[in-house]
Amino acid sequence: MTQRFRTAKGGRIDRNAPVEFRYDGRRYQGYRGDTLASALLANGVRLLGRSFKLHRPRGVFTAGVEEPNALAELRIGARREPNTRMTGIELHEGLVAASQNRFPSLRFDLMSLVGLAAPLLSAGFYYKTFMWPASFWEKVYEPRIRAAAGLGRAAREPDPDFYEALHAHCDVLVVGGGAAGLAAAHPPRAARQRGMLCEQDFQLGGGLLAEPAQDAWREAMLAALEAMPEVVLLPRTTVFGYYDGNVLGAVERVADHLAVPPPHTPRQRRWTIHAGQVVLATGAHERLIAFPGNDRPGVMLAGAVHSYVQRFGVRPGERMALFANNDEAYRALFAAQDAGIAVAGVVDPRPDSAGLAAARARGLAVWAGSEVCGTLGAASLRGLRLRRCGGAGTDKRLTCDLLLLSGGYSPAVHLASQSGTKLAWDVRLAAHVPSEPVQNQVSVGAAAGVFGIAAAAGSGAQGAAMDHPAADDLDPTVAPIWEVRGGGKAFVDLQDDVTARDIRLANREGFGHIEHAKRYTTHMMGTDQGKTGGLVGAAVLAQARGVAVEAVGLPSFRPFTTPVTWGALAGAHVGHEFAPVRLPPLHDWHQRHAAEFVEAGHWLRPSYYPGASDGDVWDSVLREARAVRRDVGICDVSTLGKIDVQGADAAAFLDLIYANTISTLKLGRARYGLMLREDGFAFDDGTVSRLAPEHFLLSTTTANAAAVLAHLEFHAQTACSGLDVTIASVTDQWAAMSVAGPKARAALTPLISGLDLSNEAFPFMAVGDAILQDGSRGGCQVRVFRISFSGELAYEIATPAGQAEAVWKAILRAGAGAGIIPYGTEALGLLRIEKGHVAGPELNGQTTAGDLGLARLCKKRGDYIGRVLRQRPALVDPARPSLVGLRPLSRNDVLRPGAHLVAGSGSESLGWVSSATRGVSVEGAVGLGFLRGGVVPDVVSFAGEKLYAAYPLLEERVALEVVSPHFIDPENSRVRA
């Protein structure tokens, strides 16, 4: 477990804190401060992945979020995380990781045999093949392709960790904690301002972390920032998206650097940041150069080597060479040499450069005006082929196990571009830089194309005074060479195995637009989104098209800057918390009495109360319904929407809202009300009660309560903004219970004082206030409505929610003699179907008043919502399916909602069954439905043929008779009894 490739000293790892971990089953040791990648490099492990398509061996290519190759399955079981960038995994005690996308092992990956077919697997080959024979695509080809594709394996058990989402507001949000970012967040700017600095790395400093010479400045800056109460520093926090209104999304990896999150600690935290100004100090990504074999493990970006040596104290190889087109990269080489890595040579396409001079001064072998045209070795780099630029063949072979590669730097403009900022081409960098911002935002440092610690810090400070870091003369000027042609694969997208040749092929086939080339070749479509090779591919395309790189451009930048954990985006409201549970005031009573509950939107309602002797649901439901028909029952209807409408113009307003007339409603009376949408279809129904000349109480269906409230408010504030009317929801204020059955009056009378319940004094549709004697002193204030949904003599008792249970219990006590029992929504549904009352299934947004048999309600005179458009030809067509009652001819057949009405053996749908149940007053099943032409009294036949309820999903056909929807008491005498 020796770390053979550790430097003697230096780095930001804690050499006194060794950390044990496992990779592919083997135990290794690293130090705190390592990433999984740096720790494995320290142990000499270089083969760390297999490519997406060709399964070629791959090693670490970068030291950051741009990593295309070194992906692992981190952790095991329910916590397994596929495709995790090893360059970003913070080493922690007991860490377990495994390689992915290989079989059986990373070293001997049988899937790499695909490579033999590589010439066939050119870009877009899928579209040209797998078509013969036709049936083979899904049965044979696609499953194989799917199995070979994909990278790691997802966990299959529920995620044991939790996440949370926060909202934050600040004056200045700084994205990036490098030299530029630290300077941007620097005290003088941020004083009396709220600042936030998000840095995706677990250490603040960015490029500074590879610059020991700048430690003093870095530490001074951090100390100053930490001392600022109004500045929040968030390491391990990636800003993933820039949205409208200067709102940015970020995710903080709170506990990913630990084996498991400590108690009460979320694994990750999503921030929604509302920022006054945004400073983008996101740095730059170093680019690769496309040359044959540039994917061999041991080929690494120069900046990455710089940071492995300086930040992690790791020697990624023993003998190295440099292939670069800019001077910045030489600093990595020299740092690595100083750390004890032998230098095989320097290859620079430029005839001469400061870098070359410095290398010569160090006595290094240099090949100016030359290029690397190939790599030697198998799963690990053994050497290079060199030649003069543009030459053919190989002039020279170099032996080395590490190549520092640098094709220049592309500013990380992802967020700037997402914010709407256009990109401009910078010739010196041969890269895109942000131009004029459109939101309140500015890019600084390498993100703006300003390189060098000092210069970047300067640009970050934006003119504010601060003590500057030590000057570093750094020249990011690039002599753009993008590709070295030759035999072998020259990759522009390492993860998805996209080669320069694929790009040219795409162009040849007419996919020369960058967005087409991207989709045809999958260039830039991997988990790294082409951060290291994207522009190189575009440049190759430009060359093929014979235009300038800037004319080709880049594919659009989108969230997420780097992939974001699903759970973090979801936040805390998952599982049972996905939606809040809404409970009526009597819920606890129902629960104590073992009710079975049913979801109604957010509400939980009792659907029935299983009795000791009940065999199944139907026993309970029928027992409850029979009690209502024979004696009396009580049902919690508190979930119905209740809206208080008051004002001098309230009546006029409601006349517009309802299709029927409300203004004629007498004081102390209620009326059924039907609302239409403006397009003439039925919207909702309920009762309207007049409590005072200018005071109405509306009830709505449970499902539409919120929509109806908004509908009223919208019209009150727009079309009717002149009227004097106020609207308030009182759904939660009032509990409501329906006491229904022939013995309802008998059960209630002894309890009620202040209101004469006799039929004469308090007839059907009467409303009045009363006191209900629950035994307490003073009793409970209640409001009594003589309305009925069940078709029986019924009273709806409303009382402030706080008194609900007292009132409910008092009624149960008083009704005991009469045999009162509670009934749930199932029995309620049964009763209303027998009575022929419409509900949700009939008021489904597709039916008209006519369809529902309610056309007569619609005013003849006066305006109302839906009046005009309900008269459109198709809405008044007498052939429209309209409400009917349905019974199976054979009484023990079942009737199912969702069945269609067909004639004889026909398959043309003449209508459908909307609601169905087993009857208690009527033998067998009863249903409501909609039938073309509606009820022709007592039809058992349609166009001479029997009518059937067809349910092909269950291969069922039930012969029907069509009857009036009012199965019981059509003359409505019971409710008036």
Binding site: Y126, R146, G152, F560, W566, H576, E577, R677, A874, H900
Partner: protein, 416 residues
């Protein structure tokens, strides 16, 4: 050039240097018998079927940008015909039948994958609605199955059947539904149309129409005037704007719909799953990414860019449906501009302008319609009248009230 196994092999051996462009990048002629506006799936399919079914080959497809980068290039690729209303399910079933033979027809692998589409429900009311829909499909001879929890567990073991806030009660399953490779659909139709002589003209934006005595005679474009015997509109989210240029109004609002893709992973979900309790649907692409989305952001937009609250909803719904998704990572998000009609169903047919036809108002469901829409649109253009298959999708149904409101959501685009 025809694609075949042999061609693939010979090309492979010669370094793939002999492949020809999939379609010519044509330059506009002065006049075409038919000009199709919009180089998305629908426009390209229209051109293809005009040539194939009606022998009308003097056709141009005008695309303001590059073909297939509109909604065709950014949709979640679900194909199905599980609609309630006969007008809808019969049309989409026809489209599905065209999908089933498309590879051979186009000589292009559009990767039609009939892995099944599963719609979950969570309540009796949900079950009844699903049954009404499934039975309607079955009566019209379309495959549909009502699945119970056990069957659902087999098809999709990762679903949270027990502990969910809205436990899954069952599902409506269409085995023949599935997905197709969206980009390939545009490319395949373009190539096939091109091979039959259609001019595909890119970077050519239509800026206006020449209308003479109520009849269209040509189009003004960013590449000059182009004469046209007939014009077909297939511009999705831009339908209102093109209609306005022609001087008529459409009951359409443009809304943004977002979609998302996760990092590529080994096969995890083998059907298309739709969550009933929260707007969410998901499938896995052949590349391995989970492709998913949810509801509209809910306000008019022409930007292919959505907002953060919707993102939160979509991911919460996904995690509620399949708790193990929580540890995966979202790779990319984007938006598309939906042509939402005010009854949620499309418009394929005549317009008030003589010689001008349209296909539009596809809402979030028009990818599956691509072949069917192209076929019907082509017919309508060729014959000057709708085919029975698209007879119901008229522009004047809103006046007459013959609406096709699948969900009963009413004339509110954001609720459709």
């Amino acid at each position: 050039m025809h694609y075949s196994g042999l061609k693939l092999l010979t090309q492979a051996l010669t370094g793939n240097t002999g492949w020809k462009p999939a379609w010519r990048d044509a330059v506009p002629k002065a006049h075409y018998d038919v000009v199709i506006v919009g180089g998305g799936g629908h426009g390209l399919a229209t051109a293809y079927y005009l040539a194939k079914e009606h022998n009308i080959t003097n056709v141009a497809v005008l695309e303001r940008g590059r073909i297939g980068l509109g909604n065709t290039g950014r949709n979640t690729t679900i194909i199905r015909s599980n609609y309630l209303l006969p007008e809808n399910h019969n049309f989409y079933e026809w489209s599905l039948k065209l999908w089933e033979g498309l590879e051979q027809d186009l000589n292009y692998n559009t990767m039609v994958s009939q892995r099944g589409v599963l719609n979950l429900f969570h309540s009796d009311a949900g079950q009844h609605a699903a049954a009404r829909r499934g039975n309607a499909m079955r009566l019209s001879g379309i495959d549909a199955q009502l699945l119970d929890r056990q069957q659902i567990r087999q098809i999709c073991p990762l679903l949270d059947l027990e502990n969910a806030r809205f436990p899954i009660q069952g599902g409506l399953f269409q085995p023949r539904g599935g997905t197709a490779r969206h980009d390939a659909v545009a490319w395949g139709f373009a190539r096939a149309a091109d091979r039959r002589g259609v001019d595909i003209i890119q970077d050519c934006e239509v800026l206006g129409f020449e209308i003479d005595a109520g009849r269209v005679t040509g189009v003004q474009t960013s590449r000059g005037r182009i004469g046209a015997g007939r014009v077909g509109l297939a511009v999705a989210g831009n339908t209102s704007r093109l209609a306005a240029m022609a001087g008529f109004a459409v009951p359409i609002e443009s809304h943004v719909l977002q979609a998302f893709v996760s990092e590529a992973i080994k096969p995890l979900v083998n059907t298309v799953v739709t969550f009933g309790a929260g707007h969410f649907y998901l499938s896995q692409s052949d590349k391995g990414g989970l492709v998913f989305g949810g509801d509209l952001d809910g306000w008019n937009s022409y930007a292919q860019r959505g907002s953060l609250p919707l993102v939160e909803h979509v991911f919460a719904a996904g995690a509620a449906m399949m708790p193990s998704l929580s540890r995966l990572r979202a790779l990319r998000s984007w938006g598309g501009v939906m042509d939402m009609t005010l009854d949620g169903s499309p418009i394929i047919g005549l317009t008030p302008i003589e010689g001008m036809m349209m296909t539009g108002g596809w809402c979030y469901g028009g990818f599956k319609a691509t072949p069917g829409s192209g076929w019907c649109h082509a017919w309508t253009i060729a014959k000057g009248e709708p085919h029975p298959r698209n007879a119901a999708f008229t522009l004047d149904r809103f006046k007459t009230g013959h609406l096709l409101d699948e969900r009963g959501a009413g004339p509110y685009a954001w609720a459709q």
